[in-house]
Assembly symmetry: C2
Homo-oligomer: 227 residues x 2
DNA sequence: GTCTATAAACAGATAGAC
DNA sequence: GTCTATCTGTTTATAGAC
């Protein structure tokens, strides 16, 4: 008979170890984002995950390995949230269909990044990695930001008639993304100025309405420019 | 005869002490922004400023005092850079004059925040304070962000005919600011996607052109909405 | 796989010489 | 006003019991 006496009795094949691993990543994403990578101690991460300090060295080789695991988790999450909406970008599009698709992509980004509370930890982690670039940022750029923005530009080009790799196209799309991102990164200022205590579905709808109007206005301007 | 034997012979009345104080603030703004407040050691700040570790306790009472001094410095810098352009917002404006003034304010923000290299340290410090809000953020909001945005909204209202304190006005102006801020906060991604190695006057001009076009497009949309 | 105990380095604050 | 030296607590990493 083959038994597994060294693992807990109720743990499935990849059960307890994997659960600890995930709990550590979630806790790390939250604490690295909130306090900064170096300021968040491995002890506080382990405590928040309900695990032991030594488990970080065991699962990730050390604190730096945990940071990379967080980056991979972020990449997978972003792809999961935005991949479906951007998948349609591969096929050729009519200007009208491209415009509709852009609106759906913007809505998907707002729905994920601005409204969902879990996105806070991700956004803070990403911004911090941008300020102090490490290998984690390289992965984020190569596997998430660059391919996503490339496809966003392709759809923008189909909607406006401008070339997808023209500087003006890249700048316009980045500016559009900046409008959305602000409501996550600068959320504290925005909420105070608006008298909001939280950004729920209702507030998300108000943001969505403004940003879709701005998208439409920017597209019209870009279309006129490209003609 | 009154001599000052305890100070260096070449130091003017408020000379050396004040110079050390300023050097510490500059170094702290840079290091707090780059590595995070808690990750940047007082030793590294003192070394970067060419001063001694103990000088931080002497001038600011401790590390936390240095953080507040940084916040005050940032407030003064922002007011110095944007105050002149926003001063004209106090007087009543025709729609056309308001539109011109908004363009000038946007240009002033780009000129300061996006193009000037010193703005990097300020932006990183501010974003970090937003993530982990402390007394420093309270000061930044109350003395810089809130009054500046209030005036920006007033000009926006004059340009579009919408009420200055309407949620739509606040959201539209915040989104517009987000577009600009992205080219500082997300600069690393933007530069790579554009193949830029730096954002100098030429690149600043390209950003300016896109953002002014988006401002114009958003204003037209808001004007139509308010009518 | 999880835990305790410990090692070696480093943090911020401060006392006191100059 | 600046500096050296030191105190006290905390950090990450790791060795080894279970």
């Amino acid at each position: 008979m083959v038994a597994t006496p060294k693992t807990a009795p109720f743990a499935p094949a990849e059960g307890r170890g994997e659960a600890t691993r995930l709990a550590l990543i979630h806790a790390a994403l939250d604490l690295f984002g909130a306090k900064g990578f170096e300021a968040a101690s491995t002890r506080s991460v382990a405590a928040a995950a309900g695990a032991n300090v030594a488990s970080i060295a065991y699962h990730f080789g050390g604190k730096e390995g945990l940071r990379l695991a967080c980056a991979d988790y972020v990449i997978a999450t972003i792809r999961g949230a935005l991949g479906p909406a951007l998948a349609a970008a591969a096929a050729p599009l009519t200007p009208t269909a491209a415009r509709d698709l852009l609106a759906r992509v913007v809505e998907a980004i707002i729905g994920f990044l601005v409204v969902r509370p879990e996105a806070q930890a991700i956004a803070r982690f990403v911004v911090r990695e941008m300020f102090e670039p490490t290998e984690a940022f390289e992965r984020l750029y190569a596997e998430a930001f660059a391919p996503m923005h490339l496809r966003f530009c392709a759809v923008w080009a189909a909607a406006t008639g401008a070339p997808a790799d023209a500087p003006a196209t890249k700048l316009a799309t980045l500016a559009m993304l900046g409008q959305i991102l602000y409501f996550r990164v600068g959320r504290r200022v925005a909420m105070r100025r608006l008298g909001w205590s939280d950004i729920g579905p209702g507030e998300g709808e108000a943001i969505r309405a403004i940003l879709l109007a701005h998208l439409d206005a920017a597209l019209t301007a870009a279309r006129r420019e490209a003609a």
